[in-house]
């Protein structure tokens, strides 16, 4: 089998992510998933202000850079104006769960017909690795130098617990720590794009992604960290999968 990057990956320029960043892997998965469904020309991405914004330099799709934390709401607005487009909002965990949690929950409650891919690396990556709502207990960050504790910093955000009982169409957590999980992530994105084409409603896929720079690990060690620690605290799987539109 031949493996060649999609025509929707822009090879004329290079996104300035750190070496080993999961964002690049996830952009490749998105383009391959869209190509497999044959809908690459209909994709519109809404990128967040943070490391995710470099996706504009990696993927050759029509894209909008939303205000920080409001990318999910922006994507919902674009979808209402252009129902033929396939919307992918790509916030990080700091954006979707902290600054923009109201957009995420409100769009899920309204069951907006968009796909949100939350890239969860458990820190605010671009601003220097501060603690985010999805930072694991005991994890040392620049604003929790002794490790996060529930007493001092509050509970850790698990979006599947928050939205697990809602009426949204699809909720899954994936990872890019191994080839098997990368393949599963692509399958989940294909499924969610298909649901969007069927008009089923709000799909959210959280992808556990490495941040070697702020985790202060090598890229291979950060993949081990996802496998052994992060995915134990935030289990992978499909949590909501409603088949078809409910009356």
């Amino acid at each position: 089998m031949n493996f060649k990057v999609s025509k929707h990956i822009d090879l004329n320029q290079q996104a300035s992510w750190c070496p080993g960043c999961g964002h690049g892997i996830i952009c490749r998965i998105i383009t391959d998933a869209a190509d497999k469904l044959g809908v690459g020309d209909r994709i519109v991405t809404v990128d967040d202000v943070a490391c995710g914004q470099f996706g504009q330099y990696a993927m050759d799709y029509n894209s909008i850079m939303g205000a920080h934390g409001r990318v999910v709401a922006t994507a919902a607005g674009v979808k209402r104006a252009r129902p033929d487009a396939l919307l992918i909002a790509r916030p990080g965990d700091g954006s979707a769960y902290s600054i923009g949690i109201e957009s995420t929950i409100s769009c899920a409650m309204r069951n907006e017909n968009i796909l949100t891919i939350v890239i969860n690396n458990s820190v605010f990556g671009m601003t220097g690795g501060q603690m985010s709502p999805a930072t694991l207990y005991g994890m040392k960050t620049s604003t929790s130098p002794f490790g996060r504790t529930a007493e001092r910093n509050g509970s850790m955000m698990d979006i599947t617990k928050l939205l697990g009982q809602s009426d949204m169409a699809y909720l899954a957590r994936c990872s890019v720590d191994s080839i098997a999980n990368i393949n599963k992530t692509q399958k989940c994105i294909e499924k969610a794009l298909q649901k969007q084409m069927n008009g089923e409603g709000f799909c959210l896929i959280e992808i556990l992604s490495p941040c070697p720079t702020n985790w202060k690990m090598t890229p291979a060690q950060s993949m081990e960290f996802i496998r052994n620690t992060q995915s134990k605290a935030l289990p992978l799987g499909e949590f909501i999968d409603r088949g078809g539109k409910e009356a």
Binding site: V5, P19, G22, G24, R28, I179
Partner: protein, 70 residues
């Protein structure tokens, strides 16, 4: 036998490809790119089985695989 095509100008030296390659076709080298990143080394003597693991894990789209059987 599959053939790995590397675009060294894009490589940032994360060596994730080396960590997933089952046949040690790709290994870290001590060379540095013009940007100062470490570079990956392609071992021509090892046989690539064309599994695509390196292509799937590369965050900088440096790798293409052409399988002569396909």
């Amino acid at each position: 036998m599959a053939k790995v095509i590397l675009d060294m100008s894009r490589c940032k030296g994360c060596f994730l490809c080396a960590s997933v390659c089952p046949k040690e076709v790709l290994t870290p080298s001590k060379e540095l790119s013009s940007k100062g990143f470490g570079l990956i080394h392609l071992n021509e003597d090892k046989e690539c089985i064309g599994c695509g693991a390196c292509y799937k894990v590369c965050p900088d789209y440096c790798i293409e695989i052409i399988d002569e059987k396909a």
